[in-house]
Symmetry: C2
Subunit: 537 residues, 2 copies
């Protein structure tokens, strides 16, 4: 077979050639703008030519600090297209961590949204490798202390539309890097190769996974600074899929409007986004009929939410699992053909699971006794391998812990049923260790969130004198359920659990702290309530 | 990213693990047999262990001379699973060519169906590398002069169900080889790598191509000895798709029965198969409602046939293009999303084209003036490149002609419209060169085959004193249209063509000669009628 390396810029070439008329809808600070792939590809080539002219050469990291919009999409291809490595920077990082990731990646340039200037201006003097800042803006009306500053649109105006993308790459060469938050310490860098990105794109297009298609109008709500918006900008461009990029500071109502106005067929994001969207739909009168699927990942979606999408709004809910280290798609909770004969309740349980590994990915569950047998009910750590799974953290001593014997050790605790379905039980560190037994905080959360009066819930392990740890539930009530009591909560879940699994207490809060990517920040809750049970006693 | 090589035996491991309950339906000489993937995988491991025990080691070629059935499927994985190279032998080759391909590939063993013994027994003494013959049979009641002979089922009985597939391969290593007929001379070998097969399988599963899925019940009618049955046995196994393998000497009526009885959702084959199936449907009372698509390739399907499937039987017709050298899927005639707004007639024209290259494949059309511009109407030779496109013929001097500058030169003449749609005009060698202009024999054939009284038609170039060559149509009438005249034919197509394109004569025949893979053997017709126009004059 021909030695044709899998290659990221070639994906944009395909969109330009075959789907030049298709559309990228981009929301910026000034509202909605529309571009064809022909225009996006030309702008991408112009930007790449200018990056090269500025001195970006093979392997140089170039950072982006940006929302989901057309310029960010162009950067996704222009940076590798100039030979560089796309470093998508999580704009929710602390200033200290922003400084760390930019310096650790040794970013040569930063592309930055004008409304995100306050993130970088204060730390500019501490960025040791950055040679210049490229302002992403619809106008030139920004003021900034950053220097030297280049204007994105001006670079494009001066760029070469006939630029040939850099091709002196092997498919194993890096095309991107993204840092993932660590429980403690600095974020850890995951490097994406051209090969990994292309193979992952195939996986997204498979009929049995997300079936991403040219026929779709896809809106990635998951940020482009988080695991490449799950690889959607790459795959959607390759397939000629119309993209709707929701831009800065979107609200649930805005998403609901975009879905209706732009006939979005597929959208992707974390559960907290979908909780918000459900509320917007309940409060407003939106047309949801264009949606063929809502892709959900990042953390486990509660069954009650999946049911709301599927039953109340007739929108198929596609639960997927992955992490920054897995590009991120590792598994999808599609039903096997014969599982459509199960009861709706059983189907829902499968749809709420982490599903089955995508073709190309291997997963297993391991505990101290070795590989966990399917259907045994045993818990263990979930291990993953495959050609789009990271094999190290970029220049980081913590690699040795997470990557062992050719497997990624996810830190997620899971079970495998007799069909091979993966079910996350918890994070290793979030399990409640009570009297030598394990209690899954996630199972308890799902059960509590099924209560009609609960908006969201997190169950945490709280130190306990007698039992070492005991579960405590932190609950946010829905509007209109102000009178909900801890007894109501516990009574509602009592039938589903062994008595010793029930939380020792229910704490009602106004909101739950979240991580930069919208997951519950259980560590903060654990710290806040670390003496909750000892105080009580 | 992890260095995990793409690997064929791993596809069977996935089917066994995740889809062990799914079904392989196999028709042999004794009728229908049913196996689960768990059983198929166990038998595959046992066979691989015995192949290894017989002496098959890394890179050894092992030939199969077999219909589409479960044992052939097992061989697809057991031969690479033992480190060998699967050589699927076209059982319609002449004895001389059979001898050539077996000796040229240096096959160490041959796996052979009992009803195909007469193909090999007469040439046994001329097979210089074959060390043994493995009989594929439901019983041991065969008699054969082949020696030494091993019984397939006996090997399986003695095999090791816990055998570990051979893994000391790089993904570029060969997993298969298939010979393709040449216009003149011996067949040419195409080597398939593990990488090529896996990437091609991804392509088959994409929503925008064939969307092959676990939800399908797929019946490859295209032979497993022809371009790996278009890669379906590999991809379908990987995805856990139920397979219906129609076995030896099937008839159109049998295919119609299998589609109905087995709820086939997707089937694949060449146009002559579908012509027969349409006739069976017209003559019988078959349920066709399970079919979600008929995948057609190998040679161009006439619009009239596509229309019959889509309009009369409501079965979507998916026209694809490829060849042995392209694994074979190169392009698919799916409609772009905005092309669904076109008239039905315009849509049909697109569906009857060769479509757009699959993601990963590049195609262009080149003539003496260079790359043909899209929408120019110019003809040129179709060139293809990509990671599952061959880069040479196996140990063959003819490689230099077909593979130049990193592109496969297909020998097909094509145009590109303004959407990039590829339309085959002809084979380079089948074009009619009339008075310095080119006439497409394929266009004329399609028009003639749209006549209700025409069963099939081939247009050939016949030497002509004044014009160098002129087109002549060879036509087979449908039953009930015995009175059809040459004038009827010419009148029916007259409005569609310039006067000088019209065939000089129409010759009615009882049947058209076909190649071993069911394509019209125009070379034979050209020879037979080489003095047809000079005689007339």
């Amino acid at each position: 077979m021909m030695n044709v390396p899998l290659n990221v810029p070639a994906m944009m070439e395909r969109a330009a050639a075959l789907y030049g008329k298709k559309e990228v809808v981009s929301r910026t600070l000034n509202g909605i703008q529309r571009f064809t792939y022909a225009e996006i590809a030309e702008r991408t080539k112009k930007l790449a030519s200018q990056l090269e002219a500025l001195g970006v050469s093979k392997g140089d990291r170039v950072g982006t600090i940006a929302w989901n919009h057309h310029r960010h999409l162009e950067s996704y291809f222009a940076i590798p297209g100039a030979g560089g490595v796309l470093h998508t920077i999580n704009l929710r990082l602390s200033p200290e961590h922003l400084r760390y990731v930019i310096n650790h990646a040794e970013d040569k340039f930063l592309l930055i949204d004008e409304d995100l200037l306050p993130l970088i201006e204060p730390i500019q003097e501490q960025l040791s490798t950055v040679e210049g800042y490229i302002m992403m803006s619809d106008s030139k009306e920004y003021n900034t202390t950053l220097h030297p500053v280049y204007d994105y649109e001006e670079l494009i105006n001066q760029g070469d539309a006939d630029f040939s993308f850099f091709t002196d790459v092997s498919e194993e060469d890096p095309a991107g890097i993204c840092y993932t938050s660590a429980t403690t310490g600095n974020p850890k860098g995951v490097v994406y190769s051209h090969r990994g990105i292309v193979l992952h794109s195939y996986a997204l297009g498979l009929a049995d996974t997300a079936a991403l298609s040219e026929q779709d109008r896809c809106m990635p709500v998951v940020p482009m600074f988080h695991a490449n918006a799950w690889g959607i900008p790459f795959a959607a461009t390759w397939f000629g899929t119309s993209q709707i990029l929701p831009g800065p500071q979107f609200t649930p109502a805005l998403l609901a409007e975009l879905i209706e106005a732009e006939n979005v067929t597929l959208t992707a994001g974390v559960p907290t986004i979908w909780m918000g969207l459900l509320q917007a739909w309940e409060n407003g009168n939106y047309d949801t009929s264009s949606l063929r699927a809502v892709l959900c990942g990042g953390s486990a979606a509660p069954e009650a939410m999946i049911e709301a999408f599927e039953v109340k709004y007739n929108v198929p809910f596609l639960h997927a699992y992955g992490m920054t280290e897995t590009s991120p798609l590792a598994s999808v909770a599609s039903l096997k053909s014969y599982q459509y004969e199960l009861s709706k309740k059983e189907q829902l349980e499968i749809r709420a699971s982490q599903g089955l590994p995508a073709p190309g990915v291997e997963m297993k569950v391991v505990n101290a006794q070795g590989d966990v047998a399917w259907g045994s009910g045993e818990m263990g750590e979930l291990l993953i391998r495959g050609p789009w799974i990271a094999d190290e953290y970029y220049q980081d001593d913590r690699s040795a812990e997470a990557f062992q014997d050719g497997w990624l050790h996810t830190g997620d605790v899971a079970t495998l049923d007799e069909e091979g379905t993966i079910r996350l039980v918890d994070r290793t560190k979030d399990l409640v260790k009570s009297g030598g037994e394990w209690i899954s905080s996630v199972d308890l959360e799902n059960a509590i969130m099924a209560h009609e009066g609960v908006f969201e819930a997190a169950v945490i392990a709280v130190p306990h004198q007698e039992w070492q740890e005991r579960p405590v539930a932190c609950v946010v009530k829905k509007d209109g359920f102000e009178t909900l009591t801890d007894k109501d909560i516990l009574d509602s879940i009592r039938p589903q659990f062994a008595k010793w699994w029930l939380p020792d207490d229910v704490i009602f809060l106004e909101e739950l702290p979240k991580t930069s990517v919208g997951k519950f920040l259980k560590r903060a809750l654990r710290e806040q309530f670390s003496d909750h049970l000892t105080k009580q006693a």
